[in-house]
């Protein structure tokens, strides 16, 4: 067991800078999620840790060893690929046991290990099948079993759930979390799905244009997003981001007037407030005609539109009102309002109401 350190990692493809100077420490036993939109450099970062991609500059340490020049096989890292990377000509059992075969384990012992590992991921009855005869979820389990059978120092998972259907993804998510808890192996997980990140991670690193924008626990990323990008990326439905102006503690935007804010900042800002921190009120600082009602079952998402700005609040499930009727939103008692710099997007202040 060891921590993984990325020191000043740079990756260039010709003139294209994929990852500019990245520093990251993955602590022993944690579940770190690299989260970001496609093309943000998260997979490249992971592939550099794996050794599948050369590092242009910088160093990667596993424990105290610099692994820059070690081939993947000498890094003691296992990886689960997005499209599984199963060996189609081998049975499930042989797929799972292949890492042990490469380490010279005897046939009988390999089989026993494969059987035990397959049980762990509920693949027991499928050992003699070929990958083509399995469903997507089962293939994913084979890939998982092949990774865990040799107890590596580090797991890398590259969007392992993105090829599964929505329902299966939720089940597998829980299983991954359970497995991580059970094995306690340090895991780096790449995804663009913020729900996966929130549910699985002990810490999330949010990447944008190759840079880590914020590295923190899911709770803090949710409650104190570092900038507009993180604020808009995390949370479902997404945080309302309202461009306006603040002066003397009063935020003003079309359809919005919120007094009683921090008197410090003034000038153009973006106000961020999550839909769950807005409630439907008779009168409130945010008002406009209803643009859409979306019933979610346990609640209703109500969106109002005023001069091109959409603002969404989470209302009660039994909320009924015609479209285009006026509605008002007010912050809930536990609401957190974020102010972001309109220029660079950084968070200026977060305020409970």
């Amino acid at each position: 067991m060891a921590d993984i350190r990325l020191v000043d990692i740079v990756k260039k493809y010709g003139d294209f800078l994929a990852v500019p100077r990245q520093n990251l420490t993955i602590e022993d036993g944690e579940f770190l999620v690299l989260l970001g939109p496609s093309g943000c450099g998260k997979t490249t970062t992971m592939r550099m840790i794996a050794g599948l991609e050369d590092i242009t500059e910088g160093q990667i340490f596993v424990g105290d060893t610099c692994v820059n020049d070690l081939p993947p096989k000498d890094r003691d890292i296992a990886m689960v690929f997005q499209n599984y990377g199963l060996y189609p000509h081998m049975t499930v059992g042989d797929n799972i046991a292949y890492p042990l075969k490469l380490r010279g384990m005897s046939r009988a012992e390999r089989r026993e290990q494969a059987r035990i590992t397959a049980e762990k991921v509920e693949l027991g009855p499928y050992l003699n099948r070929r990958p083509a005869e399995l469903s997507g979820g089962q293939r994913q389990r084979v890939a998982l079993a092949r990774a865990i059978i040799r107890r590596p120092k580090l797991f890398l998972m590259d969007e392992p759930l993105s090829n599964l259907d929505a329902k299966l993804r939720v089940t597998m998510r829980a299983e991954l979390k359970h497995l991580h808890h059970e094995l306690g192996i340090t895991t780096v997980y790449v995804t663009h799905d913020q729900t996966e990140a929130m549910t699985l991670a002990s810490r999330i690193a949010i990447l944008n244009h190759g840079r880590i924008v914020q590295l923190d626990t899911p709770e803090r990323i949710y409650s104190e997003p570092a900038d507009i990008f993180v604020a808009g990326f995390i949370g479902n439905p997404a945080m309302n981001l309202i461009a306006g102006e603040i002066r003397g503690g009063v935020f003003e935007a079309p359809a919005v007037r919120i007094p009683g804010l921090d008197a410090g900042p003034s000038g153009p800002v973006v106000l961020g407030v999550r839909p769950e921190h807005l409630r439907i009120a008779e009168t409130g600082p945010i008002a406009g005609p209803i643009f859409a009602n979306e019933l979610l079952g346990d609640s209703t998402l109500v969106t109002l539109r005023q001069r091109g700005t959409h603002i969404c609040a989470r209302g009660p499930a039994d909320f009924r009102r015609e479209l285009d009727q006026p509605v008002s939103f007010a912050p809930t008692p536990d609401a957190r309002l974020h102010l972001f710099d309109a220029e660079n997007g950084n968070r200026i202040a977060t305020q409970s109401f």
């Binding site: 794996a50 050794g51 599948l52 081939p71 993947p72 096989k73 890292i77 296992a78 990886m79 690929f81 997005q82 499209n83 599984y84 990377g85 199963l86 060996y87 189609p88 000509h89 081998m90 292949y98 890492p99 490469l102 380490r103 083509a132 890939a143 092949r146 890398l156």
Partner: protein
Amino acid sequence: MRDRSLQYYLLVPAFMIVVATTIYPLAYSFITAFRDWDLSKQRRPQGFVGADNFTQALSDANFLSTAWVTAIFVVVSVALTVVLAMGLALLLRRRGPLHDFTRIILILPFAMSPALIGVSYRFMFNPEYGVIAKGLGQVFPPLAGIPWLADPHLALGVLIATDVWHWTPYMTFMCLGGLASVPRATEEAARMDGASSLRILWDVILPQMTGVLVVVAVLKTIFALKMFDQVVTLTGGGPGVATETLAFYVYKVGFKWFDMGYASALAWVLTAILMAVSAGYVRMLLKERKMATA
């Protein structure tokens, strides 16, 4: 109703051409195979002799030697071509200016006429002025002055070399196609699992390539069985009969010795072998397609 019959009338010209150019000669040679016909004396096939022409082959030392030479030729040239093509494909699969350029010029040997290949190799292996014979002599002095095409074994070797040179590029392209369909993730997974490059090739790449490799081998077998052009232009079947292939022998019996009945019988023996191999090939293609759609 008129339209229905019209479609068959429209087919008639094409059908007639096929009958005249393919079916009629085939049938004619098949019938001739069971008849006696010395072209130097008779204008038409003579009486039926049953299977005599076929049984004659079994006791014909020339034919048996020819069959043996053909067998060696097929086995060695197919094996060499498959191994070289696969090796080249592995070297050329990466992208890059040099790789792309090499891939492009690689097609040139295949674009050459087999008869011309034979002629140029005859020149190049001439012990007096041949560039290859001379070059080999310079680099490896013991090889200087070896009469390549006058030695039975060496001549067969040179014949095989011309054929391998001719066919390897094309087969390399087939292997490159096969390699492209091996999922990258399976190789990377093997690397992460701890496999060396050689193990990846052996455990992961080749097993996924078996379909393509079998197709390559069977196709090459069919072409090797028909070997004729370079035999004529490179060795003339010599020294002695050391490089006479089946196809060449059929030609010799028919057009040098004018024994058309026997030549037809031999031609049908070769055809039977080719049909057997081709049937196997078609069967595999169908199976491949079925697997691909499954």
